[in-house]
Amino acid sequence: MPEQSGNTEAVRDADAIDGARRGFLKTTGLSTLGAMLGMAVPFGRNLPAGFVPAALAQDTGLDLMAGKQGLVVLGDRPLNAETPAHLLDDDVTPYERLFIRMNGLVPQTALDQDAEGWVLTVDGEVETPLELTIDDLKSRFETVTRRLVIECGGNGRAFFQPGTSGNQWTTGAVGCPEWTGVRLAEVLKAAGVKESAVYTGHYGNDVHLSGDEEKEVISRGVPIEKALEEDAIIAWAMNGAPLPALHGFPLRLIVPGYPASASQKYLNRIRIRDREHDGAKMTGDSYRIPAYPVAPGTEVPEEDMVVLTEMPVKSIVTFPETGTEVKAGEAVEVRGHAWCGKGDVASVQYSLDFGQTWQEAALEPAPNRFAWQRWRARVTLPQHGYYEVWARAVDQDGIGQPPLSPVWNPRGYANNIQHRIALVAVG
């Protein structure tokens, strides 16, 4: 089953992908090459054997998978991989276990860890446009370190029925590393946000899948009010080390509470807009949901789609691993994390009887706003047999996770279905 994988399977996946890539290069004909470059290849027959178009030589980042542990690869070009729930047990998600969501290819600057001459431009609806080096950021603004959840807007897409297009994330496109940087709000205030400001537009230097250097890979933004809250940061470090190549080196935004696509990687420009941003993957169906609830499978007119903003309340069970055997009649700890796009989670409950009765779990406070919160419970399974642990988090407004997928949407965003694991009690 492709959804589940331990280390060995992940390695095997990577091998299979390598094999597929070799096979691909072997069988690629010139007509294909032409299709790839979007044109005929003149004098094709004179090309040396083994010629690989520049578009294909650009790195997908797949080799960097060697530094990840136990992730399930959903796609190799672009590279996307998620983390099985039981590997997300750490309070601070380590690099090895942080999911990967690439929209394009990894830029060479990130692969080389070369930040020489990197400049962040802040322009648009501001009094004083800024050109900031990373040293400028470090010296001019207060450095803050925070644990912030980052979650792909499509996490949980696999549970929508009927299927929705995109990577079929289950529960693992989420993590909570510790980020270091400066507050986005302070940088924007230094530039002087004009009255006319409505939205931010974020830009990075990642490379389009087609290899076309003119083409934007992804450029999303957030309402200016969200950007001016104190939570979002411009980060240069993750877990005390420079940002890894797969996660945005040398600079990225972390805008907690919103889909992770708003947390631009490889950040080199923030443009303040006087209208909702219309960069790549802001428009059409991308990161948008219907303005009203629709029946599963409905095609929604483009003008009725609105930008997905706050992510819903959610929790996962990270221990034990699903399918674990436990002793009947003996207490065992069950635990996980809970988080919410609005900020702190109010409570977490769990059920051992398929949702018929619910018990309160102990919920720890967040070390800072938008960090995930640890929940724990000690459970005793009364007799041998099959059990499931279901968990549900409830936000400050009393809104909790549904036992099945929430309202369907064409691209399968914001699915906060309750997570369940199986436990087998033995006599």
Binding site: Q4, G23, R77, S165, G297, G323, I421
Partner: protein
């Protein structure tokens, strides 16, 4: 009707194998039964969406020469058209409506700069995608 029975049988197989009480190696994960793309589920009867996915246990190996895409009319054309930008992994994950495939094609051409082939090839590729990676059949 035969599809329903087949689906039911597949669901039963998943349940039997999925308990792991007999097979210690089978990984238990109730989420996997929910991560389905059942063919023919009815939007106005939400319980139908609870069925295990129709293709559980039926996964076709696919043709290695074409990135694991299943053989069939249009497999080769689909492979060469798509891998210009992305690998076949993202294709193989999809179970979407015919309409969504048309929309995705339009989006790839208009927003992502995909080079559009001639009409005949386009029709062949879309028919292949709708046949093999569908939520409708």
């Amino acid at each position: 009707m035969s599809r329903i029975i087949k689906t039911f049988a597949a669901a039963l197989a998943v349940l039997v194998l999925g308990t792991g009480l007999v097979a210690a190696e089978a990984r238990l994960d109730p989420m996997s039964a929910l991560a389905g793309r059942p063919a023919g589920s009815h939007p106005l009867d939400p319980m139908t969406a609870l069925r295990a996915r129709a293709d559980a246990g039926e996964a076709r190996a696919g043709n290695e020469e074409f990135g694991g895409l299943p053989d069939g009319a249009g497999a080769e054309e689909t492979y060469y058209q798509c891998v210009a930008c992305h690998s076949t992994e993202i294709i193989k994950q999809q179970r979407v409506t015919d309409h969504r495939w048309d929309e995705l094609w339009r989006w790839m051409v208009e927003a992502q700069g995909m080079a559009e082939p001639d009409e005949e090839t386009k029709a062949l590729i879309l028919a292949y995608l709708k046949t093999n990676f569908s939520s409708e059949r």
